[in-house]
């Protein structure tokens, strides 16, 4: 490490602990406490990245989360890899590996740099204009664009780290641990408010904590010393929780905030293991104090992006906080007093300041006079017109500004340097405030947007509220915080403050050069390579809205959301278009304030915890018997039970045949079950189903179809009358929750006069369906006391029964067309009754079947599956189920819609059976159905909704919806596929046992 780049030791760097890390494959050393950026600068490295579009060499520009350039990929090709990490934020640890992004083959020699030479060809909107035409070429362009652009590489392996979410409730949340935030947190906690203080940095204290200047004193001490004591007092305050390395990502309405707490990113690899990496805090605060500070602005001038051009405040932080010198020959370029602080601080450490270039006329403030007194060369009313140096700045050219600041005059002066500090003033960090819905106002004196209308119980204090000198900050703090917290006094009212006041302000958004703008490169958005020229071009091409200019030029659209240059973009638009800044408004700041990892967002909801899954009481049996499962809503349902060597097709064919030839058994527990009670239960069913229910006898079952108010089929199922005022309704597996919700809605809001109570009992019962010609014999063995004769227990009826003294309900209902019995028993007995049925059925070759076989069997009978054969555009009439729509009932949900002009059209899509000419040909579900393939464009008549090979009919069968299909019975149609056209014929959707003989077989 070149020793001379480390200067006086710093309180924040542990020089006794050397840390080794790699950057672009080379090993370097830094100290504990360094960020990657400070360690690289200490090693003399400034060039760390290539820019996005022109691949220009770029260096570290800031010392914080606003960094646009020094964006790196860490941890290479491992599962721990992460792109777009700001070198200015990541703290180095032993074993850290970082590499540059956006460059190939390497950062020092980058092929994409040719874009820089071609840049006259790459203006704003270039991508839109060029690559969008002709459309068919996009695929070819895309390959090259993706290869040469892009911000880092996504990980390809699952994230091995742990993350979690945590809820926090507090009285007062203080965002930002600078001087304002610390005073606020202390005041709040001391006044019995449960307080939470968050700061994104590893240490509290903001910029004040390293401010050791004669010009910033509190009670005759350096402000840093004073603040250090205040921070040490915080430990003893009850009610105060402090979290550092915690960045607020989002500020939503009602004081709901999200923050990311970084727990292990700064630790060496071996210490990260098995620890939570990042935690998403979900904070609900009664009051919020934003003390988010401000971000220094760059200046916009020709070639303002070279490595070695750094924000003035960042140079100060690198030297005062990290003890690292950014350059040996420094120049500062400014429009305000704060660069003088940097200059004086460097000067006091013996670091050479070649010049201060100030666009203002001679200023007479305490601090500028001091700089002059100690012999720093100051150029007033000068601007930089160009810079040189490819991989690092070497020289600046300056010229005198004209009176109006719009042009330059006189002769050019060249000054050598290896580091240029720039300061264009300060931008209050109002991002979170605006996210919360706050309205900004423009302050013409400081050219800043500051909070004006608070949408919730919150306040902004300090420099994020446009207060920039210590005196103003403390004075306003005392007044505002007392009002905000409703207290009489703070402990900061008698402080003696020495601070300088800025007396001359001057702002030029785009600084002139001796060259025409067309020949200049004044960067506004460094990360996205947008220049002032691009913004002017956008305006010339007619873009007016700031939101449009942003998208066209991509200004502010990088991962840094343009934290540095957005104000300049606005300023340039305002200057060019003549619209006042206050009327332009700002673009919308969106969460997150800084990028979040996906891990933080999902927390523990990964792998098996990604979603809830529901298991039936017989689940373990299915697992033990080799079932494959399918997801139906949140349920895991047995799909089919392959025997050794069987494909899915083989298994389903076997199961389907067994169910019709001998006996089948299905776990139907997932069907939704709603218990309906009350003296108006029958009337209620009349209103929600299309058919009539009043006359259903006790002990009988009925199939019902439920519509939406628009007449479209919504759900179906069998409902059983258990007693005079007691029904049990079944719904589809997927529809259970929404059906209950819909029924509750009608009951509570439209028909509150009905005496009806709904209870979801889906999970209370296990449902076992035994079907096939031997089903009666099997059930008889399981429940010997039950009279199963057709006279006593016919199809569509129900009996109460007992199995081993446990009550159960038995329904004789069928979804397969076979004689079948459904046993409903208390869920925890489900598995043992299932096993009982299996034992009893052994001699009849009882075969467990899954959902796939169930679907096949019902399709043979032409029974619909809501959601597969229907898609919320089909009425019961479209389904050829006119028989289930009561003509007599005055009203039911959806009735009126069944004769709207649209629903009575003859050529609506209607459900029909489809058979293939070749009985072995099984159609693809979703395949298009057409009548004429010769006429282009081919008219699509409909599509296949269900399709199977039926082992019981030994042919292919399908259901589909076809325009006007109802009147097409026997008509020949076509299914055009990729390599062939399949001939089909419209058929009756009931393929098997149209007379329903098997129900009683």
């Amino acid at each position: 490490m070149p020793k001379n780049l480390r200067i006086n030791s710093s309180n924040f760097i542990d020089e006794t602990t050397r840390v080794s890390f790699k950057f672009d494959g080379k090993t370097y050393y830094g100290f504990k406490g360094d960020t990657l950026a400070s360690a690289l600068i200490a090693n003399g490295i400034h060039l760390v990245a290539r820019s996005f579009k022109y691949h220009r060499p770029r260096g570290i520009m800031t010392a914080g989360s606003e960094e646009p350039n020094a964006i790196v990929q860490i941890n290479g090709n491992t599962a721990y890899t992460e792109p777009n990490v700001r070198a200015t934020e990541i703290e180095i640890y032993d074993g850290l590996e970082a590499s540059s992004q956006n460059c190939w083959p390497n950062v020092n020699f980058d092929i994409g740099g040719i874009n820089n030479i071609l840049s006259p060809l790459l203006p704003a909107g270039f991508y839109y204009k060029t690559f969008m035409w002709p459309a068919s070429f996009w695929e070819k362009y895309e390959y090259f664009i993706r290869k040469s652009a892009g911000l880092g590489k996504s990980p390809t392996k699952p994230d091995p780290d742990l993350y979690e979410h945590k809820y926090i409730h507090c009285d007062v949340l203080v965002i930002g641990g600078g001087i304002s935030g610390i005073m606020a947190a202390k005041t709040s906690a001391e006044n019995n408010y449960k307080t939470l203080l968050l700061d994104e940095k590893p240490h509290l204290g903001g910029t004040t904590i390293y401010q050791s200047s004669e010009f910033n004193k509190i009670n005759n001490q350096y402000s840093s010393k004073w603040l250090e004591k205040e921070i040490s007092k915080l430990k003893n305050i009850k009610n105060l929780e402090i979290k550092t390395r915690t960045s607020v990502a989002a500020y939503h309405g009602y004081n709901f905030l999200l923050a990311r707490e970084n727990l292990t990113d700064h630790l060496p690899l071996n210490k990260k293991k098995d620890k939570i990496r990042q935690r998403l805090l979900k904070i609900r605060a009664k009051k919020v104090i934003a003390a988010t500070g401000s971000i220094e602005r760059p200046l916009i001038f020709n070639n303002n992006d070279r490595p070695g051009i750094i924000l003035s405040s960042a140079i100060k932080k690198y030297s005062d906080y990290y003890g690292v010198v950014c350059g040996k020959e420094n120049i500062l370029f400014t429009n305000n007093d704060s660069a003088y602080e940097t200059a004086i601080s460097l000067f006091n450490k013996g670091i050479k300041i070649n010049a201060i270039i100030d666009i203002r006329e001679k200023v007479n403030s305490e601090i500028t006079n001091h700089a002059e007194k100690i012999g720093i060369k100051i150029y007033n009313s000068y601007t930089i017109v160009d810079t040189s140096g490819y991989r690092r700045i070497k020289e600046v050219s300056i010229m005198k500004l004209s009176k109006d600041g719009q042009s330059v005059t006189g002769s050019k002066v060249k000054i050598k340097c290896d580091c240029l500090g720039i300061s264009g003033g300060w931008t209050p960090a109002v991002h979170l405030f605006t996210q919360s819905g706050g309205k900004l106002k423009f302050d013409n004196e400081d050219n800043v947007f500051i909070p004006s209308k608070y949408p919730s119980d919150q306040i902004s204090i300090g420099s994020c509220n446009g207060e920039f000198d210590l005196n103003t900050i403390i004075k306003n703090f005392n007044q505002n915080i007392k009002n905000f917290l409703g207290i009489d006094k703070t402990s900061f009212e008698d402080l003696k403050i020495n601070s300088t006041k800025e007396i001359l302000k001057k702002n030029i958004w785009l600084l002139p050069s001796d060259k025409a703008i067309g020949k200049c490169k004044p960067f506004v958005d460094f990360q996205n390579d947008a220049t002032a020229k691009d913004i002017k071009l956008a305006l010339r091409e007619g873009f007016r809205s700031i939101e449009h200019v942003k998208r066209y030029t991509t200004t502010g659209m990088g991962t840094d959301q343009g934290k540095l240059g957005n104000m300049h973009a606005l300023g340039i638009i305002s200057d060019t278009s003549g619209v006042k800044m206050s009327d332009l408004g700002t673009t919308t700041f969106r969460p997150p304030y800084t990028p979040l990892t996906f891990g933080t967002i999902v927390g523990r909801n990964v792998g098996e915890f990604f979603d809830i899954f529901r298991k039936t009481p017989m689940h373990d049996w299915h697992v033990d018997n080799n079932a494959e499962f399918e997801n139906v809503g949140q349920w895991k349902r047995a799909w089919y039970y392959p025997k050794k060597g069987e494909s899915m097709f083989d298994a389903v064919q076997r199961e389907s045949k067994a169910a019709r030839d001998g006996a089948g058994i299905l776990d139907a527990s997932t069907l939704g079950k709603i218990d309906i009670q009350g003296s108006d239960a029958s009337e209620f069913l009349n209103r929600v189903y299309t058919n009539a229910w009043s006359k259903l006898a006790i002990g009988k079952c009925r199939y019902g179809l439920m519509l939406n108010e628009d007449g479209m089929v919504y759900d179906d199922g069998v409902t059983t009358r258990l007693d005079e005022n007691h029904y049990i309704m079944t719904t589809t597996t997927g529809g259970a929750a929404t059906v209950l919700g819909k029924l509750e809605d009608y009951l509570q809001t439209e028909w509150p006069e009905l005496d009806v109570y709904l209870t979801s009992v889906t999970d209370h019962f296990a449902t076992i369906s035994v079907c096939g010609p031997n089903s009666k014999k099997i059930v008889k063995k399981v429940i010997p006391d039950l009279d199963l004769s057709d006279e006593e227990f016919p199809h569509m009826s129900f009996k109460n029964a007992k199995i081993d003294n446990i009550k159960c309900r038995v329904m004789r209902i069928s979804f397969t067309g076979e004689q079948s019995y459904e046993i409903n028993i208390q869920a925890n007995f489900g598995k043992s009754v299932w096993e009982k049925c299996m034992d009893a059925g052994k001699e009849f070759n009882i075969t467990p079947y899954g959902t796939e076989t169930m679907h096949l069997l019902r399709a043979e009978k032409g029974f619909i599956i809501v959601g597969q054969d229907t898609d919320a555009t089909l009425t019961p009439i479209d389904l050829q189920m006119d028989w289930i729509v009561s003509k007599k009932k005055y009203d039911f949900i959806g009735k009126r819609s069944l004769y709207r002009s649209d629903t009575i059209k003859e050529d609506r899509k209607q459900l029909v059976g489809i058979v293939t000419e070749d009985p072995r040909e099984v159609l693809e579900e979703g395949a298009q159905i057409v009548a004429d393939v010769s006429k282009k464009p081919v008219e699509m008549l409909g599509h296949i909704t269900s399709s199977y090979f039926s082992p019981n009919l030994n042919k292919s069968i399908a259901l589909g919806v076809v325009k006007g299909g109802k009147n097409m019975l026997g008509k020949k149609l076509f299914i055009p596929m990729k390599n062939k056209i399949i001939n089909v014929q419209v058929a009756d959707p009931v393929f098997l046992d149209k007379e329903n003989k098997r129900l009683n077989a």
Binding site: G253, E709, Q748, T749
Partner: protein, 91 residues
């Protein structure tokens, strides 16, 4: 995320609730006597107001009760919550 003051349970997180569209649209008592246009008015037409809006909500992960709410859609301030069947407390 709002805090909603359920008329039955008190203040709860918005995530416990579900919105149910415009409030005070009564299902016609005699749908069969309506013209297509009149029925369409009930079935399809909903307001989408910038400003004060009357809307239905249900405390779906709580007491499962429906209620009405007056919300300013420009800033999400909730001006009132009231039970089904009650008159809006605000015009």
């Amino acid at each position: 995320m709002f805090i909603i003051n359920c008329p039955y349970c008190g203040e709860r997180e918005q995530s416990e609730f579900k919105a149910g569209g415009e409030a005070h649209i009564e299902r016609p008592k005699q749908p069969t006597e309506l013209s297509d246009d009149q029925w369409a008015e009930y079935l399809f037409m909903r307001k989408n107001i910038k400003g004060i809006q009357f809307e239905r909500w249900v405390h779906v992960h709580g007491c499962r009760k429906w209620f009405n709410m007056v919300r300013d859609t420009t800033n999400d301030q909730i001006h009132a919550v009231y039970k089904m069947g009650e008159k809006p407390p605000i015009k």
